[in-house]
Symmetry: none
Subunit: 215 residues, 2 copies
DNA sequence: CGACCATCTGGACTATTTGTCCAAAATAGA
DNA sequence: TCTATTTTGGACAAATAGTCCAGATGGTCG
């Protein structure tokens, strides 16, 4: 930890330390508590770190992505995935000083993996051995694409070649909901099926995924 | 502990009592252990009874339904439903004397309800509130992983930490069949769930996928 | 105990896939 | 035809997937 000195005396750290420590202690060892400086976008302090981040490091993970100042100060819990496969539940909160000005951003990352494993063990314990008949899994993501597009074409009566922009957005919204793009190589296949270029595909997707950027 | 005059001296009861008592103690208070007489179809003894049956009562629940003497002596676990809605997992075993003759039938009935409730609590803990838009398609790949691994662990009795190389290959073969690795980011999750490194994971996978390289 | 074998690990590295960007071409409309 | 919008191909940048290997680990056997 290099740049410790110049932030050691940041008044915000001692201010929020008790809360953070309490949370970290309560949820240890499965939760990491991070205090960010929203101005410099760096870590002010961290308790029980799960990644290799330390104080002064830039805020990774996009924890501060879209903390729009409209309305709520608490975000999540939403899901995050670590490189090593752990699944986190994260909540963030904007901490304000006495004047109501944003002072720091608090993030709590809880590793859900052990809980989920425990749940799996418990629910499987002494359960009948007969396996569930396997939900077909994602064999059919390909068919699914055909299906969604085909059905839309049939409903609107427009052939794939001349669907409107809106049509395509609708279809993509649907495929996105169905998590089709969580399957490797699905994107180019969809582009092909829609007879549009990969660029366009990603453009439309970005539009969908953007919270409310447009308008 | 059940004991009635006219059967007090049945030599089978003292013979099997230690095992039954041990099982009952281990799983108490959620399991009932019953010792049946396959000849008279009556209860020889019962520990930790969950229903109102007692010693000498006729064997209810059809626990002895189809214990065909061909091959295995252990049956289940299969599911049973109690009148009050509790879900039981049951195993039965034919106990044989020194001559190999059927001596008694052991049934263990485990009440799964509290476990299932606990599992529900655990899996809900800190789960993202906004997620799960559509269970339509399979986002279940994660659960699937838990399921496959969990079931293997249960069957072999080995905890995840000390599965053998073969165990892991078996599990991976299964996951591969289920196309789990066609899902983005599945690999590190599997590695994490198996408690092995990403390297090892890919090594084992390569071994599986190699046509006939090994030998 | 110590050598030995098999396997696993962390990390560096390469390959493939995903996602972004932009200037130019295509298309739709008035 | 002229203009505004959208699409396209292709160049990049970023993220994931997969490979490789030297060293760590763990179990076995004399």
């Amino acid at each position: 930890m290099g740049a410790v000195e110049n932030e050691r005396h940041d008044p915000r750290v001692p201010l929020w330390t008790p809360v953070c420590q309490a949370i970290a202690a309560l949820l240890s060892p499965y939760a990491e508590v991070v205090l960010h400086d929203p101005g410099t976008d760096r870590v002010l302090a961290i308790w029980n770190p799960m990644t290799s981040r330390g104080q002064g490091d830039p805020s990774l993970l996009g924890e501060l992505d879209d903390l729009d100042p409209s309305g709520k100060d608490v975000y999540g819990p939403y899901e995050k995935l670590l490189a090593d496969g752990r699944r986190l539940s994260s909540v963030s909160a904007i901490l304000r000083d006495a004047q109501g000005e944003p002072s720091a951003v608090l993030c709590v990352n809880l590793d859900r993996t052990p809980l989920e494993q425990a749940a799996a063990v418990l629910s499987a314990f002494a359960a009948p051995t007969v396996q569930r008949p396997q939900p077909l899994f994602e064999q059919d993501w390909f068919e699914r694409i055909q299906q969604v597009i085909g059905s839309h074409v049939r409903v609107t009566g427009r052939p794939v070649e001349r669907l409107s922009r809106e049509d395509r957005l609708t279809i993509l919204r649907r495929l996105e909901q169905d998590r089709v793009f969580a399957v490797r190589r699905a994107a180019p296949v969809v582009a092909g099926a829609l007879k549009i270029s990969r660029s366009t595909l990603y453009g439309l997707l970005a539009e969908l995924r953007a919270p409310r950027a447009k308008e």
